[in-house]
């Protein structure tokens, strides 16, 4: 009896604290959304107005008139490209790491772990020169190429753990039934791990979606630039145009937010097996 009342108290306290923390943590973003609906007069009002008095869409219209669509599409192109290439390059070594033993296996596995820790800024200048040399500077494919060394290692870590979680007997059964290795992989392993693969793909996509440093340094043509660069233009040294900046920010954050919320189960289970257990 005493134990169950204790448990109940613990639970209630947990809920109260969680509600408090939700409010604190969600507040900055809520504030961003509220500000994006205020007129400039209300944004710069003293004392501060919390709720917009008359909700305005002027900043959203302003952002749309600045060709936000084109930046959005560029971000989609770069994101999808990064996702496809990191999955294509990562899926085979991940499978090999999970099933076979071969020379330099542990060295290569360590390389995967270490590559995901490289500071992007360290490679900025050599990347710039390299892309210039192969004439891919200021192209989408060049930017995608620049992202791959940073997204593929984490793809391998996650995928390897998903493959490890599939029992070997499943494949062996398929092999006995007359499938070859490729068929067994395509027909048995792939369908089982598809949600995990999708989650990893989304991760690579969103990496590219929010990356600022490379995208603003490697893409100089306006018609090729992505959302983070678009947003950075509103941040001036002396004056920042908060209205359109926040309206654009809301547009930019909605897709990852929705996708993450829908796929959160896979991300968390991916993290469990990917980085925690090993």
């Amino acid at each position: 009896m005493r134990r169950s009342t204790k448990k109940k108290i613990m639970k209630t306290v947990s809920y109260i604290m969680l509600i408090f923390m939700s409010v604190v943590i969600a507040f900055p973003f809520v504030w961003l959304v509220l500000t994006s609906f205020k007129t400039y007069q209300q944004i710069y009002s003293y004392p501060i107005i919390y709720l917009p008095k008359n909700w305005t869409l002027e900043h959203y219209q302003k952002v749309s008139s600045l060709d936000f669509k084109s930046y959005f599409l560029n971000s989609v192109v770069v994101g999808v490209g990064t996702m496809i290439f990191s999955l294509l390059i990562g899926i085979f070594p991940a499978y090999a790491f999970s099933r076979y033993s071969f020379r330099f296996k542990s060295e290569l596995l360590v390389s995967v772990l270490i590559f995901q820790m490289f500071p992007m800024v360290v490679f900025l200048v050599p990347m710039f020169k390299f892309l210039d040399w192969i004439k891919l500077l200021d192209t989408h494919i060049g930017l995608i190429l620049a992202y791959i060394p940073f997204t593929t290692p984490i793809t391998i870590v996650f995928l390897r753990s998903f493959f490890l979680s599939v029992p070997k007997s499943l494949e062996e059964a398929a092999l006995i039934d007359g499938c070859n290795r490729t068929k067994a992989f395509l027909r048995v392993i792939l369908p089982v791990t598809l949600p995990g693969i999708a989650a990893v793909g989304v991760y690579a996509f969103l990496f590219a979606w929010s990356e600022l440093l490379y995208s603003m340094s490697l893409l100089t043509s306006k018609k090729l630039q992505t959302i983070p660069t678009f947003l950075s233009v509103f941040v001036g040294q002396y004056q920042t145009r908060w209205g359109p900046l926040f309206a654009g920010s809301v547009f930019a954050t909605l897709p990852p937010l929705v996708v993450f919320i829908l796929l959160q189960r896979y991300f968390i289970s991916g993290l469990v097996s990917g980085a925690v257990k090993e």
Binding site: L32, V121, S210, T253
Partner: protein, 275 residues
């Protein structure tokens, strides 16, 4: 099967690394020199940026780990509303783009029109409006707070994952032995969570060293180099001052630092993986 990875990623990274090393030992006209490293080690901003990086990493990592642990403990206590609380507390800051997080906090920190000062004064925590981003010390505190907000969700997720793997029997046994919640936390949760804690610590330390956009957007390294970290300094050297060779030298120094930290941590991990 691993060949595409070896050819594309490993070769590519090695090529970039070599290019950096060559550049750091070259003068502008391509002659061999140690000058770039000498220039770094006689540069006051370099020492300042190293010091700032230490504070930035220590503050952010301590905050993120503690907050992440607290959230994970709370979230594993409850059953109903998991999805909702996870979405609001863990996913929202994670999904926010780096640059968006930067501008959002910058606006909240605004000394006149920022909502943070208004709230602090209203609830009585501050007597007067604080000029958050105007002095080096406050600016550092401000970017660290913003970074804790942006980054604690990852350690939170690691910890949730880790806590879920702790067998329930251990808690029951401890309870039968008369351990209260506090003792159960220190004697069961923490020891069981140790491997996860170490992994998380490594990732957060390295990610924080490498994390660039937040400082870039909020302060640009200022005021008076107060928030200049090694990465923002490399960025400034290469893209503002166009001193590529000096930037390459500093990049290699940073690379050695990160590599050493990663090596110390992964040596343990790799042993376990190989076993």
């Amino acid at each position: 099967m691993v060949m595409p990875y070896v050819l594309i990623i490993v070769a590519f990274v090695v090529l970039l690394l070599i290019s950096n090393i060559v550049m750091s030992f070259s003068t502008i006209d391509g002659k061999f020199t140690f000058e770039n490293y000498k220039a770094i080690f006689t540069d006051n901003v370099f020492y300042k940026s190293v010091f700032n990086t230490c504070i930035w990493v220590f503050g952010s990592v301590a905050g993120q780990i503690l907050l992440g642990l607290l959230i994970a403990l709370l979230l594993t206590q409850i059953k109903r509303g998991q999805v909702f609380f996870r979405s609001v507390i863990l996913i929202l800051p994670w999904a926010t783009l780096d640059i968006v997080a930067g501008v959002m906090w910058k606006w909240m920190y605004n000394d006149m029109y920022g909502v943070l000062n208004d709230i602090l004064v209203k609830i009585g925590l501050a007597k007067d409006y604080i000029a958050w981003l105007a002095t080096p010390k406050m600016a550092m505190l401000a970017v660290i707070i913003a970074n804790i907000w942006k980054g604690f969700c990852l350690s939170g997720m690691f910890f949730i994952a880790g806590i879920q793997t702790i067998p329930q029997e251990l808690y029951e046994a401890a309870e039968i032995d008369g351990a209260n919640a506090y003792r159960r936390f220190w004697n069961v949760t923490i020891p069981q969570l140790k491997p996860v804690l170490i992994t998380t610590l490594m990732f957060t330390i390295i990610w924080t060293i490498n994390y660039f956009p937040l400082i870039y957007v909020m302060t640009g390294g200022g005021p008076n180099y107060g928030t200049e970290t090694i990465v923002t300094y490399i960025y400034r050297l290469s893209l503002r001052f166009l001193e590529y060779n000096k930037a390459a030298a500093l990049s290699n120094i940073l690379f050695v630092i990160v590599f050493t930290i990663a090596y110390l941590f992964t040596r343990r991990m790799a042993k376990e993986v190989a076993a």
